[in-house]
Symmetry: C2
């Protein structure tokens, strides 16, 4: 990625953090290294203690930024979805044709992730893997309704709504634009997981990608329908 924009900041929801990690070196280190460590160990085995050792800092200091590792995951996810939204808007901005615009959107969502030099402390490639492997755990909790009302999932929902707008622009008659948008977004990541771990129940691999599958799927739905 080489579209450097001076002082770009992905803004996440108020309240996911106790202290903005973007406001200090330690904060950025916490975020940057937590991505690598969660990617390595998996979310279950990841602890603030281990992260403390890794960054040569203290467990208690990390707690001053994030209430729990669950909140950290919410933060990382919001960051990822905010970044994705920014790419989606940025790269489809000057496409007038609705079909072409939607095609581009699907491409952006399912493309291979590359490091973004605008955010040097964040490894987007590792973060993308975390989203594939851990994102569901951030909302599959008993507290989801409460956290949703706090706005902790608003970036993700906004991304789905943007996609649904693009779908709607192609075919305003289609009844299931919201469900299609949420299915595509969720499905892209799920198919990538299957490709890596359950290859016998997906067609997606290095040649035939989730991008191909969902492009075909979306336009089939939008062309036929009433």
């Amino acid at each position: 990625m080489n579209y450097l924009i001076q002082s770009l900041k992905i803004v996440t929801q108020e309240g996911v953090f106790k202290k903005d990690p973007e406001s200090s070196d330690l904060g950025r280190k916490i975020v940057g290294e937590s991505i690598l460590l969660i990617d390595e160990l998996g979310f279950e085995s990841f602890t603030f203690k281990k992260l403390g050792v890794r960054i040569g800092s203290n467990e208690s200091s990390i707690y001053r930024y994030f209430e729990s590792k669950h909140m950290l995951l919410l933060y990382l996810a919001s960051w990822y979805w905010g970044w994705t939204e920014y790419k989606l808007v940025f790269f489809s901005a000057n496409i007038a044709d609705p079909k072409e615009k939607l095609e581009k959107a699907i491409e952006i969502l399912s493309e291979n992730i590359l490091e973004d030099k605008n955010f040097s402390h964040i490894n987007e490639v590792a973060l993308h893997r975390i989203i594939i492997n851990e994102y569901s755990k951030s909302y599959l909790t008993k507290d989801v309704d409460n956290e949703n009302s706090q706005g902790y999932f608003s970036v993700y929902k906004r991304l789905v709504l943007r996609l649904r707008e693009m779908i709607h622009a192609v075919n305003p008659q289609y009844t299931f634009s919201l469900s299609l948008a949420s299915t595509v977004l969720e499905g892209i990541f799920h198919q990538q997981f299957l490709r890596d771990h359950f290859p016998t129940i997906t067609n997606c691999n290095d040649e035939l990608t989730s991008h191909d599958f969902f492009t075909d799927l979306v336009f089939n739905c939008l062309t036929i329908s009433k």
Copy 2:
């Protein structure tokens, strides 16, 4: 459900349990009550200790049946998918027309769950909620490849393959039958989750169901495609 079949048993994979819970009263009680308790507390807050108190039995006795709560979840999921497979096969058995058969299959997968009197100790309605809320956690782990090679997900994969066969029968030219099958199965449950917790990003509700959405989606894909 009123298709009682004498001595029907859903067979799960060897190795998910240390001792077959179907082989004793205590075992069945463990399974039956764990479903209710996980449904109540969520998987994270559920513990064998709490389950022990609930069934008036000892934590250590539960460990003789299941190595960990993770293995218990794998067992419950396998049971659910085995039961679903059985319904799928049973109720679509004598439908000759491929289209009609696939339609029926989608209906079975997305229909409202009713208690099945063939399995008196299992509350299928609660188990269905567990699948919606917790199933992803059973495979989103660092150990997934190892557990997959042990066959712990074979029932689920078999179900996807059955669905893919039905898709294939309708349109053998369609390139993405496997991905479509896995997307539909995963998507049906995901849309139900969204309906309950993120209604702003789904069209599914009491009138317009995930059944409607996926029927439309699947046949759009299969009719158009080359």
